[in-house]
């Protein structure tokens, strides 16, 4: 584009014509690509709820008719209820514990200077990239070497490992979002570190803490790869689903379960994302 053209575009921007050199047409080719891309992400998953309402044991077109009987069947299954309870137990424990660890680490990272901050951050972030199978078998080996039984506890430990990096990132960006002078002001006005935490840090970090709780819960709730290696007699929901995949007759109710989990996770995650991204969009995005 020539300088003249760009000048023209700039002066066009002055009179608030919505197109300028940067924007192009708002609904140009890229917009259609974006819609296509979103469909690619969402449509495959949407087959789960679609067929969960289909009145046929076979997951195939043409659709046979609407039914909710698979949901009934799902709800009637004892194994599932047990698995659900287990998942809730593990998820609750994991989200609370990970968030506590996350708060401590984020506070240390954002409020103190100390050597080796970079490498330590790297270490805590490691579960983010290390293949799940490595963490799974490594923890499996540790469990056996210590003579422990596989149980919900071992699953929870592995989930804490996965969830802490997320929690820390969410909380770091939240804590960076407000001035550390506020905490200093509280100390300056005579409140000790403990009360300063509860009176200033905690309320100001609260949206981040809630977001972290929800995210960590959903990380644990949906996690399969590590749980597969570390589950004993008690299954979590993903493990239960995996065990049901072998039986074709169970498929429709597995679909119903999957649809429920998907909707539940979406609600949880949307809410937490909304919480933590409010106001600090770019900054927070850099943390995932």
């Amino acid at each position: 584009m020539s300088i003249v053209a760009s000048k023209a575009a700039k002066s066009a921007a002055h009179v608030h014509v919505p197109s300028s050199i940067m924007e192009g047409r708002p609904y140009g080719g890229l917009f259609f690509y974006a819609v296509f891309y979103l469909s690619f992400i969402y449509i495959p998953v949407l087959f789960l709820p679609l067929f969960s309402f289909n009145d046929s044991i076979y997951i195939a077109f043409p659709l046979k008719g609407f039914t909710t009987k698979w949901y009934g069947e799902m709800a009637a299954s004892n194994g599932l209820i047990e698995a659900l309870k287990n998942s809730l137990k593990v998820g609750t424990a994991v989200c609370i514990i990970s968030t506590i660890f996350g708060v401590l680490a984020a506070k240390a990272m954002t409020r103190y200077r100390f050597p080796a901050k970079g490498p330590i951050t790297g270490l805590i972030m490691l579960p983010f990239v290390v293949p799940g199978i490595i963490l799974g078998i490594a923890l499996l080996i540790l469990t056996y070497s210590m003579g422990m039984e596989l149980s919900l506890f071992t699953i929870a430990v592995s989930h804490v490992l996965l969830a802490v990096p997320f929690s820390m990132l969410v909380l770091i960006s939240r804590m960076e979002g407000f001035d550390k002078n506020l905490e200093e002001a509280s100390l300056d006005l005579g409140e000790g570190p403990w009360r300063t935490f509860w009176q200033v840090t905690f309320p100001l970090t609260l949206p981040g803490i809630v977001a972290s709780l929800l995210l960590c819960f959903s990380v644990s709730f949906d996690e399969f790869i590590l749980a597969f290696f570390l589950s004993g007699n008690e299954a979590t929901l993903p493990i239960y689903i995996w065990s049901q995949l072998r039986f074709p007759s169970k498929l429709p109710s597995v679909l119903a379960l999957g649809a429920c989990i998907f909707v539940f996770s979406c609600v949880l995650v949307t809410f937490s994302e909304w919480l933590r991204r409010r106001g600090v969009q770019v900054k927070t995005a850099s943390s995932v």
Partner: protein, 366 residues
């Protein structure tokens, strides 16, 4: 209680951040009830020094005493100081009333007493009825007042203020300067005030410490600081100054005559700090407004120089003239008060003579 004159004693204090010496071996006292300013260019360590007084940073070396008590190992919340932060640090989740009352929980007062005190403070900062406002509903000046009230209600022995007026516009700033000064007088609390604005420091302070690169260059009252700076850096930082290099040709006690090359013989009085001996290389400094500009040749043998009028700047109340002198690289700046209506009687390239009085000459180490 120790009732010595000094409320704060800083003894050989340094603060290093890795290789950076933010504060470099500083020692001085701040007196009870004083309005004391820390003045210096950006990055010279003012904030660091203030944060050491407040207890947010620990000195790498040296000691700080407040009211006779050593402060080493005393955390911020146990110090008899309070701070007004540069960005005010008003708690965004609390309203004005709760912000001001924040530090009173530890006072042991009852709810009613605290409320009464908060009301008094609101009155004092001229924001009565603002107690219920949220922090984000306040203007910059109002936030500044709330920050002030929040700290003052604690009755600190020392109030620390880190460029509290930096974020305000010029007019509000000048108003607040006056108000702060009056407030300090009436409450009698020692103020330690950080600023990088020399005019602000001059108008407000009892004494000023000029800092540069972690060191304190001079501590003086505003008048003496302006009239008798002790080094080139201070002289250049406070107001503007003409500098000339010279050599002492004769010295008798305090008075000296300096051979300053292009500007001829300069007579001046050393102000006691500097020992002048014959043959010493020194710097002669003269403020622009102390130089008299005339069209006729005066009949004196010293403290006079001939030059050609260069560019001039008209500032309304005064004008700046720049006079080129043969042999000087930089023109001499002359400020003259426009007492009469400026007529533009001075033309560029006109021949002029500059004169000044002996007492106006500042002699500095080279």
């Amino acid at each position: 209680m120790n009732q010595s004159k000094a409320i704060i004693a800083i003894k050989d204090c340094s603060k290093h951040f890795g290789p950076v010496r933010a504060v470099d071996d500083i020692s001085f006292d701040i007196d009870r009830g004083e309005f004391f300013s820390l003045l210096g260019p950006s990055g010279c360590g003012k904030t660091t020094l203030l944060r050491m007084l407040a207890g947010f940073e620990q000195p790498s070396m040296g000691n700080i005493f407040i009211d006779g008590q050593p402060m080493a190992g005393v955390p911020p919340h146990h110090r008899p100081t309070n701070m007004v932060f540069q960005n005010y640090a008003i708690f965004p989740h609390l309203n004005v009333r709760k912000n001001i009352a924040y530090g009173m929980r530890t006072s042991g007062l009852g709810r009613g007493e605290i409320n009464a005190k908060v009301d008094e403070m609101l009155e004092l900062i001229k924001l009565p009825g603002f107690g219920g406002r949220a922090a984000h509903q306040l203007s910059g000046g109002q936030r500044q007042r709330v920050a002030l009230a929040r700290a003052l209600i604690k009755k600190p022995k020392v109030l620390l203020l880190d460029e509290p007026l930096g974020a305000l516009d010029k007019k509000l700033r000048e108003e607040m300067q006056l108000e702060l000064r009056l407030l300090q007088r009436s409450v009698g609390i020692t103020f330690v005030f950080v600023t990088h604005d020399q005019e602000e420091a001059l108008t407000m302070s009892d004494r000023i410490a000029v800092m540069s690169m972690g060191k304190v260059l001079q501590i003086e009252t505003p008048t003496r600081l302006y009239e008798m700076p002790n080094c080139r850096e201070v002289a250049g930082f406070i107001g503007s100054m003409n500098f000339f290099d010279g050599r002492v040709s004769s010295a008798a006690g305090e008075a000296a005559t300096i051979d300053a090359g292009p500007i001829g013989q300069v007579r001046g009085v050393a102000n006691g700090r500097l020992k002048v001996n014959k043959g010493d290389a020194i710097t002669v400094a003269i403020r622009p407004e102390k130089i008299n500009l005339s069209n006729e040749q005066p009949n004196v043998g010293h403290n006079v120089v001939e030059g050609k009028l260069g560019p001039s700047t008209y500032l309304g109340d005064r004008s700046y003239f720049y006079v080129n002198v043969v042999g000087l690289a930089k023109p001499i700046a002359v400020a003259s008060q426009n007492a009469d209506r400026a007529t533009g009687q001075h033309r560029a390239d006109q021949k002029v003579w500059l004169t000044w009085r002996e007492e106006s000459v500042v002699l500095l180490d080279r």
